[in-house]
């Protein structure tokens, strides 16, 4: 149905796409896979008319096409739903729909399919949680009855139950003979949903795989290229249980959804936090990082209680935050070097002359350790997502810390980079740091953590060693269910 061959795109000196081929049949769910920076987003943007290709050809239903705008592509039946919500926050949902000429009754129909029947169209998108916004975007795309629907990482911000609804809709489209291009870093999702997968690496199509028949390993190999084995060897066992002293003690902490949580984080351990969307984990991390003040409760660092009024206070106490949205922490227009060296100049006592040579040395060391793929002078906004996140982490290797607070550090990052980041986190813990790690992808908990706490409804409902924390156990606990082995365990919680 859709055939693209030899697509190429350059941004100035940067080659985003060298030669990408993609063939999607009618009635097919087709995955598009690739590491960060492999060219997936560029390819999607070309297919939907948001960018024009420098070379190559696209044909749709046998006819050569090239779209100069997204509205042209839309008329031809191609539409994309992106990871980031696209509704304007200050217009009501209804006004948004009218602005984009969306058929309201079809929109309502698909909302119902997605489990949002009875949704009030007068709501302001500003007031809605992110997963709901993603579903609204999807319903809006479906309402124009596309022949080819592109889903660009839409499941990255969706909890498991909503992901299932998205899958059902995609399967329904397939049954009607329409096509879906599905982009996700989650191999399990791809294997469960997709008929075939096209893998990109370095701007080139390197293979087409059928993921269902044990193709997952092949996909990983193709995505990683020649370095696959090396990286795979590094993705190792859970880190050892902690033996160090107490890094942070949280006592009965309350803030927003978070309703009285107590736990201890020790030096030398990676403590995982498992939770569904909005169970108080944001508040927990924000309080620990000094971004937000708790309503009550205590954070004890060392042997004295701390009250952080500003992230600077937390940083001084050794607690630093790696946020999920990396751009929140980065200076997009500034060079990598200035981004990494930022903590070195943050205090008023460091406003004077910078020792450029020493700074360069420590920045280069961090860049090397994290294998950040870049010229140290280039602007951060030109880096791929994974490299941006590495810059955010490298900053604290240079700035110094005792406790690393990682809030979903691998969101939307490819598997190779993920393994690197988890490898680094374990290494930091082994060298004596304390790490608190929340990840929205439950299977990843075991990759890095030695112990897991589970939050549900703002309370700490379970704690288990990583060895027991497989996806099934975590999912049960994260939904507030007692673990299978010991049904009485949660009676008191």
């Amino acid at each position: 149905m859709l055939e693209a061959s030899g697509l190429a795109k350059n941004f100035g000196p940067v080659v985003a796409l060298r030669s990408a081929d993609l063939r999607v049949r009618g009635g097919e769910i087709h995955a598009l896979m690739g590491a960060n920076g492999a060219g997936k987003s560029t390819l999607v943007k070309i297919l939907t008319g948001a960018l024009t290709a420098d070379g190559g050809a696209i044909s749709l239903g046998g006819r050569p096409r090239s779209f100069r705008s997204t509205s042209e592509a839309r008329k031809a039946g191609l539409i994309c739903v992106y990871q980031d919500p696209s509704l304007l926050p200050d217009l009501t949902v209804l006004q948004n729909l009218k602005l984009m000429a969306t058929p309201i009754s079809r929109f309502r129909h698909y909302l119902a399919e997605l489990g949002l029947d009875g949704f009030d169209l007068q709501t302001m998108p500003r007031e809605l949680p992110r997963p709901t916004l993603s579903l609204l975007d999807l319903a809006r795309a479906l309402a124009i009855e596309p022949q080819l629907l592109l889903l660009d990482e839409i499941t990255a911000s969706l909890p498991a139950d909503l992901t299932v609804r998205v899958f059902n809709v995609a399967r329904q489209l397939r049954a009607e003979g329409r096509s879906v291009i599905f982009i996700s870093h989650r191999l399990a999702e791809v294997a469960a949903l997709c008929d075939r997968a096209t893998v990109l690496r370095d701007g080139r199509t390197v293979g087409v795989v059928e993921p269902a028949q044990g193709g997952e390993e092949r996909i990983v190999k193709l995505m990683l290229g020649p370095v696959a084995d090396e990286v795979a060897a590094e993705a190792a066992s859970p880190s050892a249980p902690a033996t160090g002293g107490v890094a942070v003690e949280v006592r009965n902490l309350k803030a927003g959804t978070l309703n009285g949580v107590s736990f201890t984080l020790r030096f030398g351990e990676v403590l995982g936090v498992a939770a569904l969307e909005g169970q108080g984990q944001e508040e927990l991390f924000d309080c620990l990082a000094g971004v937000r003040r708790p309503e009550s409760g205590q954070i004890v660092v060392g042997d004295k209680g701390s009250s952080f009024r500003h992230p600077a206070d937390a940083i001084r106490a050794g607690l630093v935050l790696i946020p999920a949205d990396r751009l929140q922490a980065l200076l997009r227009q500034r060079p990598v070097r200035e981004n990494i060296a930022l903590p070195l100049v943050s205090r008023i006592s460091r406003w004077g002359p910078i020792n450029l040579r020493r700074e360069k040395r420590s920045v280069e060391k961090a860049v090397k350790r994290l294998q950040i793929d870049t010229r140290v002078q280039s602007e951060v906004r030109r880096l791929s997502g994974g490299n941006q996140q590495k810059v955010g982490i490298a900053r604290w290797l240079v700035g110094g810390f005792k406790t690393l607070l990682c809030f979903d550090p691998t969101r939307g990052i490819d598997i190779g980079t993920k393994r690197q980041i988890y490898g680094l986190i374990k290494e930091l813990a082994a060298n004596g740091s304390a790490v608190l790690l929340f990840t929205s992808e439950l299977p990843e908990i075991q990759l890095a953590c030695s112990r897991v706490i589970v939050l549900f409804g703002g309370a700490l409902v379970d704690e288990m060693p990583a060895a027991e924390a497989d996806e099934k156990a975590l999912l049960r606990a994260a939904h507030g269910l007692p673990s299978e082995a010991d049904p009485d365990a949660q009676e008191g919680a």
Partner: protein, 319 residues
């Protein structure tokens, strides 16, 4: 590929600076064509003398624009500083100069409190402060000043004296401040933080920067530089009236924009602003030579700024 990419980016950036220089030379050439012999050492000396106050005023503006703000009170501050300096001159030169500079720092401090601590939009804050300064100056002039203030000899020499016949004294001050700014922006912690705050103030917060401190110090520095510009200007024109620097407000912003500093903050340099100030001064000289009416001058000024701003967006991908 990586080194090539860097060199290409650098080349474009360097070229934008070269383009500005070329524009400057072209304008000078234009004058030479209109009036053969007009471009000589004396002319250059004059241009530098008139560009210096604008260049110093635009220095403060550059600092503020880099943080993503704008200071619309610079001209009012310059005027007030010069007027107060002149009115205090009978009590001693040093005291009068210090009084003038203090006015600048004080107003900048209040701007910084408003923008940094109370999060008032820089445009609103500085516009309002400009009005407050001008109003207060009027009251001061009526209540406290009996004679028309005269400019002390030192300031007159600073603003219009020359060394070796052609080199303006103000050029030395400008060069000194310029060097301090260019080096300071590049390789001090404070300079880094100005760019950082202008790029993403939330990110600097997460990195432990207390943004209000940076903004407060920055607006105070801008106020100080505005006051210096006011003093130099009063020396150049050898007078300090109540509307001394008013005409320099928009050129101070224009010089920054022409010099390639992003109005949205996070990037830019003072070296660009220097060339911007020179271009505006030479342009003014061309238009004066052509006997262009003021209204047409303003149209051309505006047009040039729009064209350059558009060119930056296209060529350099400023956001």
């Amino acid at each position: 590929m990586s080194t090539r990419a860097v060199s290409v980016v650098r080349l474009v950036q360097q070229r934008s600076f070269l383009v500005l220089i070329a524009l400057l030379v072209a304008l000078a050439g234009l004058i030479e064509i209109i009036r053969p012999g007009a471009v000589n050492a004396h002319w250059v000396s004059n241009i530098l003398e008139f560009a210096a106050p604008l260049g110093i005023l635009a220095a403060g503006q550059t600092l503020v624009v880099i943080t993503g703000g704008i200071d619309l009170s610079v001209a009012n501050v310059a005027t007030a500083a010069a007027y107060i300096m002149a009115s205090q001159a009978p009590f001693g030169v040093t005291r009068s100069i210090v009084a003038g500079l203090l006015v600048g720092v004080a107003v900048g401090f209040v701007n910084g409190i408003g923008v940094g601590v109370f999060r008032v939009q820089p445009l609103i804050m500085t516009l309002a402060m400009g009005l407050v300064v001008t109003g207060s100056l009027n009251v001061y002039s009526q209540a406290a000043v009996r004679s028309v203030p005269g400019v002390p000899a030192v300031i007159h020499t600073l603003g219009s004296g020359t060394v070796l016949g052609y080199v303006p004294v103000s050029l030395f001050l400008w060069a000194l401040l310029g060097a301090a700014l260019i080096i300071g922006l590049r390789s001090t912690g404070f300079g880094r933080l100005l760019y950082a705050v202008g790029d993403n103030i939330e990110a600097t917060r997460l990195a432990g920067v207390r943004g209000w401190q940076v903004l407060l110090a920055n607006y105070a520095a801008c106020g100080f530089l505005s006051a210096v510009a006011g003093l130099v200007l009063s020396g150049t024109v050898n007078a300090a009236d109540l509307s001394l620097a008013t005409v320099l407000l928009l050129p101070s912003v224009a010089a920054v924009v022409i010099g390639g500093t992003s109005i949205f903050g996070g990037s830019g340099s003072y070296s660009g602003t220097i060339v911007g100030a020179l271009i505006l001064t030479v342009l003014n000289s061309v238009l004066t030579l052509l006997d262009v009416p003021d209204a047409v001058k303003q149209v051309l000024y505006g047009a040039i700024i729009v064209v350059l701003a558009a060119a930056y967006t296209r060529v350099l991908g400023h956001e």
